[in-house]
């Protein structure tokens, strides 16, 4: 099938014409065909369930009278009552607070560690770069649930090789660090690779000039490389923040080991408990929607701060 959109084949101004003719490529169906599977699947498995979830958030289940219900329970319109219930539930706000606390520990730690490792990988004459890079990336290959089981054994006084019988990893303050640690451990390698690539793609002449001027390796790293990879750091922060908001696997897996972790300890656990323990998918849907709105807000905020900070850095 030939679909040349009538581009004249003269040799003058060919480059310009190539550019404009590419944009004029409306006649071919190929991109639509290529993107169709993705769009269909997205509609079926993301958009449709999301819409369904929104609808569910406005309903709730009613039994039809009698001691144990005479008929099958049916759904009735609930208006905003699910939303109000979530927003007025002190447990919801407490779970949010706990999650933010873990984020406050985990996100800076992730960024600091991955940045530090990335810069170290790029340092001149650093040794063992290949193997340490692989080792630090390894946790990414470990499923979240398995990672939590691993660290669970590491924290348990009975099996702990890191002083679990002295430090109470499951105590009321310790538990936040314990959970944050598992999350940080899992993602620091992935983020390190992102930042490392960003550093590697910086033009070398900038720091070579600084080197000639007598700047030390450390000064170059902190004053030159760091500000130049600020956009990548923003992206890493964004992913980490979103990940922190969706914290679920780690506390769920550690829960059987720790009195401190309740079934509604972080917001997504609360959603899960509502949907799968209390059999209230309607309340769960409402809570999820509220969380999504908050996530979007926070993501926009992080992005704005990042851009603003970036502008400052290059002045």
């Amino acid at each position: 099938m030939t679909t040349v959109a009538g581009a004249p084949r003269t040799s003058t101004g060919r480059a310009a014409r190539i550019e404009s003719s590419t944009r004029r490529r409306h006649r071919t169906m190929l991109p639509v065909i290529l993107i169709a599977p993705a769009v269909l699947l997205l509609l079926a498995f993301t958009v449709a369930p999301a819409i369904y979830a929104v609808i569910l958030s406005f309903l709730h289940l009613q039994i039809s009278g009698g001691l144990l219900g005479t008929g099958t329970p049916h759904e009735v319109w609930a208006g905003l009552s699910n939303y109000i219930e979530t927003l007025t539930d002190p447990e919801f706000w407490q779970s949010l607070g706990r999650m933010l606390l873990i984020a406050a520990i985990g996100v800076p730690a992730t960024i600091a560690l991955s940045t530090m490792f990335a810069l170290c990988l790029d340092a001149k004459r650093a040794r063992l770069v290949g193997i340490t890079r692989l080792a630090i990336f390894l946790p990414y290959a470990v499923p979240g649930v398995i990672a939590s089981l691993l660290w669970g054994f590491m924290y348990l006084p009975a099996t702990s090789p890191i002083g679990g019988n002295v430090i109470d990893y499951f105590g009321s303050t310790g538990i936040f660090f314990a959970v944050a640690n598992v999350a940080v451990w899992s993602v620091v390698g992935f983020n390190m690779v992102i930042l490392y690539t960003a550093v590697r793609s910086l033009p070398a002449d900038v720091f070579e000039a600084a080197e000639i001027d007598g700047a030390s390796e450390l000064q170059i790293a902190l004053r030159i490389k760091l500000p130049l990879i600020a956009p990548a750091i923003t992206m890493v922060t964004l992913f980490s923040v979103i990940g922190a908001l969706q914290l679920f696997n780690e506390p769920t897996t550690l829960k059987p080991l720790a009195n401190a972790i309740t079934s509604t300890w972080v917001p997504l656990m609360r959603v899960y408990a509502q949907a799968n323990v209390n059999n209230d998918i309607y309340g769960g849907a409402a809570s999820s929607f509220i969380l999504i709105v908050m996530t979007v807000g926070l993501a926009v905020l992080v992005n704005l701060i990042g851009r603003h900070g970036f502008k400052r850095g290059t002045r």
Partner: protein, 442 residues
């Protein structure tokens, strides 16, 4: 080389697409049974259960019943995780034919129309089961299962350590228990008489039952909820005293820490239940033969009442296409001599059936309690003394979940356990009202 790789990717992907379509069709489990009930063809049933040793029981049925073959499935979660899955999957029609159901969860499954009544398939159960046993499976005149076992709460203790501490007889009242707790802890500060578990609402419910509580009562179609009634508060405050003095551990049962403490002799007693010897080998293997079972301490000297912890029946799901055969299987397992014998041997159940309680197989104690040959005689006696709630609520899942959170926090933050009961009460009542049950509480 790139060329080969890319065609490989595409070929692999198309092959998989085809395979997937095929797999969608022939997946094992999208329909409860593969055969229609032609006479002469085999009926296949699926049965979900998490007890260890159940496969042998199922195998025995399969051997004796070639026309009705049962497949045992292990769930990915026990208790309410499983029950909630059953409720969700009920709409999809994919539930197995038969499921294990603990007594406290049966009303919730009935209210959600997950299980069906079995009266037309079962013989008259009152011949073989006491009224109190049947009350766990019968509601509003309909029968939903055949009671499998009765699990009176029992006190297990390390006789060797008690003797060394100068305690020659197990405590018969809770007052004595507290006193013994002090003696043991003083003699050896690394030892405690037991633990308070925030992980098992059933444990606390059993203790509340002993004290006379009734968390739910009904009058006609109206419910009344009394989780923080006087009896339950009494139990909570009693244990609060022991916890505050450091005489019992706040470790949840079956945590790795608790297992180690039990195995090493740091915890020297367990307020457990009839099925404990079944669990002991995986908790505290090294202590086999050292534990002795005794009746649970009482609130008033001479009072023999005890509560229950656990106990289950099998139920037939609404999704089952062969309820008659499924009911037959359930009745065999929990109501016939062969089935009960198999349960006793493989799962160490203590049958709820009165005839079952007289079976000679019970004269052998469970392997872990080889030092106590009359273990099952004690169980038979205690089974006569059980008292349970008048009825379990239709949303006991909410109550049980609330227990874990409220008591877990209370233990963590060292706040009042009685207040935790009130939290449970509020959560349960508001949930019931939301779903539309008629509740007399404010």
């Amino acid at each position: 080389m790139f060329h080969k790789k890319r065609s490989l990717v595409i070929a692999g992907a198309s092959a998989l697409a085809v395979a997937l379509t095929a797999l969608t069709g022939c997946s094992s489990g999208s329909s409860p049974s593969d055969n229609s009930a032609d006479s002469g063809s085999v009926v296949h049933l699926r049965y979900v259960n998490w007890d260890g040793g159940m496969q042998t029981v199922v195998d025995e049925w399969n051997k004796a019943n070639p026309k009705v073959q049962v497949k045992l499935i292990k769930p990915s979660g026990t208790g309410y995780t499983l029950y909630n899955k059953l409720i969700t999957n009920n709409k999809a029609g994919t539930n197995p034919d038969v499921t294990e159901v603990e007594y406290q969860a049966l009303p919730a499954l009935i209210a959600n129309k997950v299980v069906v009544s079995l009266d037309k398939y079962l013989p008259d159960l009152s011949k073989n089961f006491s009224a109190s046993a049947l009350s766990q499976v019968q509601f509003q005149g309909k029968t939903y299962g055949v009671p499998q076992n009765v699990c009176p709460m029992i006190f297990f203790y390390r006789k060797d350590i008690f003797d060394a501490a100068g305690i020659t007889a197990p405590p018969t009242t809770w007052e004595e228990y507290a006193a013994d707790a002090a003696i043991i802890h003083e003699k050896n500060p690394s030892q405690v008489i037991g633990n308070f578990t925030a992980a098992d609402a059933g444990w606390f419910a059993g203790l509340a039952q002993q004290a006379g509580a009734n968390w739910w009562t009904t009058k006609g179609d109206t419910w009344s909820v009394g989780i923080d009634d006087a009896a339950s508060v009494k139990v909570a405050e009693y244990w609060q005293g022991l916890i505050d003095k450091g005489l019992v551990s706040p470790e949840p049962n079956w945590s790795a820490q608790w297992n180690t403490d039990m195995n090493k002799g740091n915890i020297v007693g367990w307020v457990g239940a009839q099925w404990a010897p079944n669990q002991f080998p995986s908790i505290a293997k090294d202590t086999a033969g050292k534990w002795v079972a005794a009746p649970l301490p009482a609130w008033n000297a001479g009072d023999k009442t005890v509560g229950i912890w656990g106990g289950e029946t099998e139920a037939v799901t609404a999704n089952s296409k062969h309820p008659a055969e499924a009911a037959k299987f359930v009745n065999w397992m929990n109501g016939s001599t062969d089935g009960i014998n198999s349960l006793i041997k493989n799962v160490q159940a203590f049958p709820a059936s009165t005839a079952g309680q007289k079976l000679p197989a019970l004269q052998t104690p469970p392997p872990f309690m080889s030092n106590q040959p009359d273990y099952n005689t004690l169980m038979a006696t205690e089974a006569q003394n059980v008292r349970t709630f008048q009825i379990w609520g239709p949303n006991a899942n909410v109550t049980f979940d609330s227990y874990t959170n409220a008591f877990g926090s209370a233990l963590q933050n060292k706040t009042s356990l009685a207040d935790a009961l009130t939290t449970m009460q509020t959560a349960t009542v508001s949930d019931m009202k939301k779903i539309g049950f008629t509740v007399s509480n404010k």
